[in-house]
């Protein structure tokens, strides 16, 4: 009986993580890991395994919907993935040489700074007056999507690819180093450096996070971190949650999505600060 209760509870938590993750371009580990370990008493290894399954489920589940609606910019995703995957490999290699707490501290500061910059843009519904960058033009990165909340077709230019690439490299490396989803870094990079519409940033981040996670997932599977008893309700819950979250996101104004994102950035920053000073 306790087993069935655990399955149901995990399913519900995962559904919540799926809603939030699919709306914000994150994997949902922000919610999943603390709740599974602290509330449901799961060991951290299985929580990490569950988190990686959640990232992949959110990514594929949300991307299917966002691609159909044209919000995901597949070319931007592909170009930036060259940097995130390279960063992830580099991160895995240097992990042995870099101390933990200083890294958590730096990361927390970066997140708080991103939160500050994004908060200042809280009233920007759509980017205005963005000139097409030269590299972005060569790679054909511009695009358009139909915004349900605004009832209009939104066309947008892209710039700042040369700033976004190193940021994406770092995002990939950090996810390899700290084992956290890199969506919290990807979305600010696209919002701040590339001046993409907020919905394009979160949808494209969603598209990208599954790829980096899939590589680690294979390794975690073989290490025995992916426990079917936990992974099953997580996968089912996240996929249901993502189906709901994508619908909510399409109907929500970008200003609100950005504000919600800022809130999550602050929460993750606090989690990282706690780790930096040695709390759980």
């Amino acid at each position: 009986m306790a087993a069935i209760v655990f399955l149901v509870e995990t399913f519900l938590v995962a559904a919540g993580a799926g809603v939030l993750g699919s709306m914000l371009g994150l994997g949902g580990g922000v919610i999943l890991v603390p709740v599974l370990t602290l509330v449901l008493g799961l060991d951290i290894q299985y929580a990490i395994g569950a988190s990686i399954v959640s990232v992949i489920a959110t990514s594929s589940g949300a991307a299917a919907a966002y691609l159909r609606d044209g919000v995901t910019n597949i070319r931007i995703g592909m170009v930036l993935e060259t940097a995130t995957t390279t960063g992830a490999i580099t991160g895995a290699f240097v992990a042995a040489y870099i101390g933990g707490s200083a890294l958590y501290l730096i990361f927390a500061v970066v997140l708080l700074y991103s939160a500050f910059v994004m908060f200042r843009r809280r009233d920007v519904e759509l980017p205005v007056g963005v000139q097409m960058g030269r590299l972005a033009g060569m790679l054909g990165l511009g695009g358009s999507y139909y915004d349900v909340a605004l009832s209009q077709q939104v066309r947008y230019n892209v710039r700042g690819v040369r700033y976004a690439m190193p940021l994406m490299f770092i995002a990939g490396a950090v996810s390899g180093l700290l084992g956290i989803g890199s969506g919290v870094l990807k979305v600010p990079a696209m919002d701040i450096a590339m001046k993409l519409p907020m919905k394009v940033s979160t949808a494209t981040s969603n598209f990208m996070i599954g790829v980096t996670a899939a590589a680690s997932a294979g390794v975690y599977f073989m290490r025995g971190y992916i426990n079917p008893f936990v992974a099953a309700p997580v996968a089912l819950g996240v996929l249901v949650g993502a189906a709901v979250g994508t619908r909510i996101m399409m109907r929500t104004r970008s200003t609100w999505i950005r504000r919600l994102f800022v809130l999550v950035l602050v929460v993750v920053a606090v989690q990282m600060l706690a780790k930096a000073v040695g709390l759980k």
Binding site: T82, A214, A235
Partner: protein, 148 residues
């Protein structure tokens, strides 16, 4: 910036080629996700209906045996051959793991299929970009395996 207002479904003529790529991959992900959902769902139903996981140490009447981590000893399949063997015996855990493996494979398949789509589109720059991503993915997978 936010140019022409249209009603109804998105139909950006100038983006038609890109759009077909997106639609194609959207279908791929959708069916992959549904397949994974079905397999995991069947696994969970089998688990509840039979009351067995397929592993003696992981018992449904003892929650601790299902969620406690023991280093170096997993009471569930951790390799593809173990999944295959378990499937042959109809073990619920093996069915769930198969569904999870389908889910894990999906992003990699997505990148692989994108290469083919860009080849069909004769978009060589993106064939290169996507091929690079796929090779990095495979590299990181094998490095992770080697580093064990």
């Amino acid at each position: 910036m936010m140019a022409n207002v249209r009603n109804g479904a998105p139909s950006a003529q100038e983006d038609r080629t890109v759009f077909s790529v997106e639609l194609f991959i959207s279908h791929l992900l959708r069916w992959g996700v549904i397949l994974s959902l079905l397999i995991v769902g069947i696994g969970v139903l089998a688990l509840i209906a039979s009351g067995h996981t397929g592993y003696d140490q992981a018992r449904l009447d003892d929650l601790g045996s299902l969620i406690r981590y023991h280093p170096g000893q997993a009471d569930f399949p951790t390799t593809v051959p173990e999944v295959t063997k378990g499937l042959a015996r109809g073990e619920p855990y093996a069915i769930i793991s198969l569904g999870i493996l389908v889910l894990i494979a999906l992003p990699v398949v997505r990148v692989g299929v994108s290469i083919l789509v860009f080849v069909v589109e004769r978009d060589w720059v993106y064939v290169l970009i996507t091929a690079f991503v796929l090779s990095m993915l495979l590299l990181s997978f094998f490095l992770g395996k080697a580093g064990e």
